[in-house]
Symmetry: C4
Subunit: 265 residues, 4 copies
């Protein structure tokens, strides 16, 4: 992999034939791992098929050590799933590129990959950072077309009307638009302080209602419970006046419409 | 758009035929949005024709969310206008490139675009940061040729005789000079603390007097009034000794020739 | 050497013919110079043959001044050695690349070089930073294959089961894995505060036991003694409550399993 | 000038024919402007001929404004001079490249330019930062060959035996060595706190004694006097206990061999 290059390593003997145009759904690692946890859960529950790993010299120059003691380069991975009426390409990964230029390049490669299968619609799952802990995380959204935006209300998605979405979650739908592909970004409300499976569950449920499939959520619910307990612990510490988050803790007494902090990933 | 590439997406069915060599006028986003506000006003009042959008992997990797909930990649845009005796190419944008190398590349592409139409003169509208609020912002200038500099006085432009102009506003005229194209940078005096439509109005009026066209300024004047009120509020807070700008506030009591802070964009 | 290029300058008239597939062993400069000291000792004791110097525009832009007053560009160097049953390619260097993208590129070039000679196994020697001084530094390890990991215990290597290895020491084995080449990273336990020949000796002894050759360690032991004395001095200062390391000094009274600080190089 | 490119713009109608192999002498802007002031003085006194300007997208993206109000891109410039027995190529500039990779590239281009004229020897003039004000700045040196180093003593040059030289001053001689061209770096002792014409004069006198030509130094001496007066003012302030440099001021009472601070440019 020469400098600057992006390399696809295919594991599947042959590429899948989809019954219908697949939807490409991306869960990049980011704040609270909201998107990545959701996609990893989906891959696990659907027993999706591993198609390819993506390596890039723009990923952080390191190996990740597995629990069995073996090490692997940082990578992204794409899986496929064929349902009765729905076809999916699912992307998860260890990292986003470390420089802006390479984020554009990776987004192009991912959309090229989807184009091979005639993917006409792409979703990115992201985090909506508020700095505030909430019981029921909302799901925010933006999209490339007014028609998609029009359907948000019916799925309980709060429409964003300002701000920006940075990183791969924004670029993938932005470049999709230039290619005439429909893009939607769904963002789970999260404090930004913890790995937030609660937000992941909210954003995944919204995705599933939009694409119309059902998945057992129990494993993700279990993780969401853990998140809830972690948050309660933090809140108790904050109530006790300890920890640097006291201020946000108080904000909870008077819940407020979170402002777009411009820190979305 | 491969990494490092700059992509022009043309909207006009055919490129305009200009009656006269067009002048290229650039309003990049920068301190106080002085240049961008001026060009956006000009585009609006002249009902200029959209020619092309410019996308680049050197723009910040994000999408901007519009008020209707749809999202777009960061871009620059070029418009054209044909007057009785004047032809204009107008450039506005969401962003400047995020790395120096790409700023040079974008400046070359913009000048290449202008060259297609025989543009022999280019203007950039910028901000002259003083850290001081003033009632009547001055307009400063520098240019590629002594002949252009010689005309500044007759248009009320204060000549700069030291310092530097960083970013696209400097590069576009600097590279223009290497190509034998005349370049002028006009800079509106601004504190640097607020979006400054007052400075935009001043720099736009100067541009219009140089290129000899008239434009209804009422909308920009309205915005300038808002700026004025915002500044007054800040000054009152400063007078009350609050706010981090108190020091500059005092400087206003004894107005002084602003020094080139070297922070011009 | 154009920007971005990596240049090999060969000193040997002809490339060596190895009796057996050589093992490539890399000692990049890093924390405590653990890896570099070990390889430099090995090169010296084996009277290894200098094959090539590697120059790169990604190395820090500077010359190093030698004790004789002459100056040289930063470089990496590769040596070869042919033993009775073992063949070695040994890499040492002044520097690692200064940007991630170039670290990937250099790792590829080094593995290409090894591939010329049919190298099927690569080792990197690194530092395991604990922030704690210890009498008997342990050696930690990770590898590309479970089979290699399985042999660690028999050589007294503590298995890592989490974290990451950043920089060339990680990339070389990570990219080797993509090429089907076996990679092992051995890390000598070190405080991270001093050039640590003790850790170098530990990691080198482990390497030698794995590849099955013997080398006179007296010179490295001498340096290790110096390290020990330096550490004792620092500890005395810490005991006396002076120096910024007091806290770590106290940790020594209650030795603890060093956590993977994630700062490994 | 596409991104990453280096562009030579030639002013001379024809390239000079040198009576003898020219020496290339570089005075890049750096700490105290020691090297640049020396070369600018040499160009002025020798009435050297301007050959070419060098532009690069790796120079800071800005224009410099001249006293007449006109603006120019950042650049380096090369001049030539033919003496009775000595030929010179003289390089001065506004800036060094803004990233390491481009420093390597520019050094290669400069050496390519010199190679056109058969230049076999290159000098760089730099600053040796000590953080201490001295009456008689020493001149330090390093070179690519022991033979050059051997001649330092006879010209009063203090030999460096450790440390490194960063930036263009180091790269130009380091890459020259790879090309079989002799390189010498002369460094004028300076505090690093002021533009130091005293250090420039010292390093230029040393250069002239090595290459065996005479130049009227009165203008540079005048500037050196100014430096001296500036330093005296600073010292008086330091003696009065004001200014952040008091500590260095005291060091002067007990003058000491300045250690290589590793900060040389």
């Amino acid at each position: 992999m020469p400098a600057g290059e992006i390399q696809f390593v295919y594991s599947a003997k042959e590429m899948p034939k989809f019954a219908t145009e697949p939807r490409l759904v991306c869960g990049f690692p980011g704040s609270g791992y909201v998107g990545k946890l959701a996609i990893d859960h989906l891959i696990q529950e659907l027993h999706a098929t591993h198609l390819a790993d993506i390596y890039s010299s723009s990923f952080p120059p390191q190996v990740m050590i597995r629990t069995d003691g073996t090490a692997d380069l940082m990578k992204n991975s794409i899986f496929s799933w064929q349902g009765k009426e729905t076809s999916l390409l699912l992307l998860t990964g260890d990292s986003q590129p470390s420089d802006p230029d390479s984020e554009y390049a990776l987004a192009e490669h991912i959309l090229d990959f989807g184009a091979q299968f005639g993917a006409k619609q792409v979703f990115t799952l992201a985090a909506y950072i508020t700095g505030v802990f909430v019981d029921k995380p909302r799901v925010f959204g933006t999209a490339t077309d007014a028609s998609l935006v029009g359907n948000f209300a019916s799925h309980g998605v709060s429409l964003m009307d300002s701000g920006s979405i940075t990183g791969m979650n924004g670029l993938v739908i932005g470049i999709a638009k230039l290619r005439g592909i429909k893009g939607t970004c769904l963002l789970g409300e999260t404090s930004g302080y913890v790995v937030d499976a609660k937000a992941s569950k909210a954003v995944l449920e919204t995705l599933l209602s939009i694409i119309g499939i059902n998945v057992d959520m129990s494993n993700l619910e279990k993780r969401a419970k853990d998140t809830e307990m972690l948050i309660q612990t933090i809140e108790q510490q904050m109530a006790a006046g300890r920890g640097g988050l006291a201020q946000e803790g108080q904000q909870q007494q008077q819940p407020q419409k979170p402002r777009n902090t411009g820190y979305i990933s």
